[in-house]
Structure formats: structure tokens, C-alpha cells
């Protein structure tokens, strides 16, 4: 996946047929991070904490439902992914890049959580098994697609 053209707020990416399949599969996994993964504080104090934590989880759940609808709309949109002689052409607006980065990051972090939250050293030495191969693959590829989107926006 690479950005081949940008014009104003529009960015055009070229993906191979395989990359297109991987990209749609990965964003289709959203959301993967459990809402309860996030806590408001490491040192909770005060009677209001539980209510505030519940509010946080509610806000996150609402945000995810909305983003999930955006993902679904994108996947179902006719002509969003256009076949070309060499692969697939994808047009994205900068705002869409922002939420796609968030979606890909959620899937990446979600894979990492399901792998048991390995630390940096453990990630590089993870033994690949039939159980964890899909998660490692997902984590690495999400990073690849995030890097391509950020490079286009010069982030």
C-alpha cells in the first residue's frame, strides 16, 4: 500500500490485490480492544470514581459503535475500492485517514492484548503457533497500514 497521489483533501492509494484483502479483513475486525481495558486512573480515589469509570466506558462504547458504522459504510461503499490493472485504488479524505488510523490501532492493540500483552523483548521472540499466528499477523500488518497512511499525511 502506498500513496500515489494527493490533491487537496484527497489521497489516492494503490494496494495490491492481496493488500486490499488484508486491509478490508483487518478493519472489519474493529473493535477488538475491550472497553474495560481502559481505566480512568491508576490510583482511583473518591466516591465518584466508579461513576466516572462507568461514564468513560459508556463514552467509549458509543464512540466505537459510531466508528464501526463508518467502517461498515466504507466496506459497503460502491467504488470506494476501484480495481486497476495492477491492483486496487483507494481514495481517502484526510478525516477518513484519521479514523482509519484509530481503527487500525484498535485492531493492533486488540491483537496484542489477546497475545497476553507481551513486552517489547517478548514480542520479538514470540514463538509462532497456529493459535497466535493470526494475532501476530494482524498486529504487524496493522502497523504496516498505519505507517502507509501516516506517510501519506506526512505525520
Amino acid at each position: 500500500m502506498r500513496c500515489i497521489e494527493s490533491a487537496g483533501d484527497n489521497f489516492f492509494f494503490e494496494l495490491s490485490v492481496k493488500e486490499h484483502g488484508w486491509f478490508t479483513e483487518l478493519i472489519g475486525r474493529y473493535p477488538m480492544v475491550p472497553v474495560a481495558h481502559h481505566s480512568l486512573s491508576r490510583a482511583p480515589s473518591g466516591d465518584e470514581y466508579e461513576a466516572d469509570q462507568a461514564l468513560l466506558e459508556e463514552a467509549l462504547a458509543e464512540h466505537r459503535a459510531q466508528t464501526r458504522r463508518q467502517v461498515q459504510d466504507m466496506l459497503e461503499e460502491k467504488d470506494r475500492f476501484q480495481k486497476t490493472a495492477s491492483g486496487v485504488r483507494l481514495r481517502l479524505e484526510s478525516g477518513e485517514i484519521d479514523w482509519l488510523l484509530e481503527v487500525l490501532n484498535d485492531v493492533r492493540v486488540g491483537c496484542w492484548i489477546r497475545l497476553g500483552k507481551p513486552d517489547t523483548a517478548a514480542i520479538s521472540t514470540l514463538e509462532i503457533t497456529s493459535e497466535n499466528a493470526g494475532l501476530i499477523w494482524g498486529m504487524e500488518l496493522c502497523g504496516f497500514f498505519q505507517a502507509a497512511l501516516m506517510a501519506a499525511r506526512e505525520i
Partner: protein, 101 residues
Amino acid sequence: MAEIAEPEVSPDVGHSDETESRESLEPGYLVVCWDDPVNLMDYVSHVFQKVFGWTKSKAEFHMLEVHKHGKSILTRESMEKAEHYVHQLQKASLHATMERE
């Protein structure tokens, strides 16, 4: 002998021209971002710019602080604002919390 009259000085209470906002008097809440091995450095920097409206260099400074020191205090705010920022950072899947000062 008459005592020399001392000038009368009123105690310095009240009447300051400057009024402190309620916010500055409230206990502060620190918005902290913690290191994890999964979020990409450029992505973290991008999220900081988006959430706080920071310049790229300021965002990168805090991102590197998280990376090198395990955490970075991003801002000190009232409870309400700190919650708002933590929500925004967590929506982006960053490991962020608010801690009472």
C-alpha cells in the same frame, strides 16, 4: 505629651483586582500517558497533536518522554477537562490516565 498619631492602616483583606478562577483553586488532575510496547511512536505523536492541538515538535517531545521514561505528564487540568482529555486519548487506544496531584 501627646502621642504622635500613627497613620491608620487598614488590613489588606478582600478587594483584589485580580480574581482567581474557580478552576485554578480546584485540586489539579494530571493527564498521564504511559508507555506500552504496541502503539507506534508516530501514531502517538499524531494523537497528541490532534487531541491537544500541539505542534509536531511538542508532541514528539512528549512522545519521546513516554518512550524513554515510561510516562509523560501531558497536562494539568481541572477534573472535568482531565477526564475529557483521557477520554480522547483512550478513544485512540493510548494508555492514558488522570491522576490527582
